[in-house]
């Protein structure tokens, strides 16, 4: 199991194990060599250590010019814990969603007119990907533009029973808006 350098001593193996474990960086054989007891060959010690750890939950691997302990790759999936960190909608997307919710079914030019700003495709795509809006027929007008409406997913996401659960526009506007 070990080359001509002889069988590594248990003391050498313990030291190598501790050193590799505690090091922040991969440990090159020459660094280990400085610590090992007289007569122990660093390469041989590491080879024997790797052999002892083979098949275990943690394995000794050669990376970046040194050795490091790594958890066995087949266990990664079982150890993984997923932390949900939901992101917020960008402001433009939230405004667009609100306008669609209150004015549906509504065309894109109408949304732009209400927001007083043009609508980027990105903003639209975010809402589509999140399945918050959907096309709902076409308007009988020149060019027959697509009408947009909110989805069942929209109601679920905001905890609404139905669209009528949205506060009425009049209740929302405590102050009169500038006339359009």
């Amino acid at each position: 199991m070990v080359s001509g350098a002889g069988v590594p001593s248990e003391a050498g193996l313990r030291l190598a194990e501790a050193l590799v474990f505690a090091s922040a960086e991969p440990v090159p054989a020459r660094v280990l060599a400085q610590l090992l007891p007289e007569g122990d060959d660093a390469e041989a010690v590491l080879a024997e250590l790797a052999r002892r750890y083979a098949g275990r939950g943690v394995e000794l691997v050669w990376v970046g010019g040194g050795v490091q302990f790594r958890t066995a790759p087949d266990l990664a999936a079982r150890l993984r814990t997923v932390v949900q960190q939901p992101r917020r909608l960008p402001r433009a997307a939230m405004e667009t969603l609100a306008i669609i919710a209150y004015h549906q079914p509504v065309t894109r030019p109408e949304i732009e007119a209400i927001r007083g700003a043009s609508l980027s495709q990105d903003t639209f795509d975010i809402l589509l990907e999140a399945r918050l809006i959907m096309p709902q027929g076409r308007k009988e007008a020149p060019g027959r533009p697509t009408l947009w409406a909110t989805t069942a997913q929209f109601l679920a996401s905001f905890g609404l029973d139905s669209l009528s659960a949205l506060p009425r526009r009049e209740d929302l506007l405590s102050e009169p808006l500038p006339q359009r």
Partner: protein, 251 residues
């Protein structure tokens, strides 16, 4: 009682002490291993001797050393009183408190020593140098809440409202020409002396549109009456206006 030599040594070391209690504990240790068995009276004498010695060398001794010296001098005076008096009992209690404080500090010093003797993480024992994280952050979900939605709606309306220019809405009103055509068409098909309202177009939702149509129809009927195309009658002021066919048409 401290010898001159010992006193001198202590004096030299005063700098290294963290306060009078520290010195008292050191003096107590010199007496006995067991703090319960020390003589408080002897301890007081030793402390006072140390402070006296220190003051001979350096006058600017820190206040807390002197406060402790004064208190210990008071304690000594009480401890020297014959047992049984109230003052002597007071001294006994104060001596107990001092012994208790020394024991408490001694215990904490022992605890510190115990802690210091333990293998310290990062000095004597080492944890894994390269911990691996198996925590995956999932940012695919959206954080959606109603207040944000409503806030966004209001923000959009306000911004758009501020930017929009005033543009009067074009009303499609019933013109006199429209009314003339309708009167001509309906006049023959309706009974004689029919109310003016009956000649208005249907499906006029807005009051403004209804009023405009009424005015246009009245103007048109006056026009036609002047031409002799129809007759108008009103039974009383503000009563219904009735339209009749022209007399020659009646035959």
């Amino acid at each position: 009682m401290s010898e001159t030599g010992a006193e001198g040594q202590l004096l030299l070391h005063l700098e290294g002490f963290d306060g009078p209690l520290d010195v008292l504990l050191e003096l107590a240790r010199a007496q006995k291993l067991d703090l319960a068995g020390i003589s408080i009276l002897a301890l007081v004498d030793q402390y006072l001797a140390v402070i006296e010695g220190a003051r001979r060398v350096r006058l600017e001794l820190a206040a807390d050393w002197l406060v402790m010296a004064a208190w210990l001098a008071w304690l000594k005076s009480r401890l020297l009183l014959p047992a049984g008096s109230a003052e002597a009992a007071e001294g006994e209690r104060a001596a107990e408190v001092l012994a208790g404080r020394l024991a408490a500090l001694e215990a904490m010093r022992a605890a510190a020593t115990w802690l210091a003797a333990r293998p310290l993480l990062g000095r004597d024992v080492f944890a894994r140098g390269t911990p691996e994280s198996f925590v995956a952050i999932d940012r695919s979900r959206l954080r959606l809440d109603l207040p944000a939605l409503l806030g966004a709606y209001l923000a959009a309306l306000r911004r758009a409202g501020a930017a929009a220019h005033y543009r009067p809405q074009a009303l499609s009103l019933w013109t006199v020409q429209d009314a003339l055509e309708r009167l001509l068409r309906l006049l023959g098909s309706l009974p004689d002396w029919t109310s003016l309202e009956r000649f208005l177009p249907e499906h006029l939702a807005r009051p403004a549109e209804r009023r405009a149509a009424l005015a246009s129809t009245l103007v048109a009927s006056l026009e036609m009456a002047r031409d002799g195309a129809l007759r108008l009658r009103q039974e009383e002021p503000f009563g219904p206006i009735l339209l009749g066919r022209a007399q020659d048409a009646q035959g």
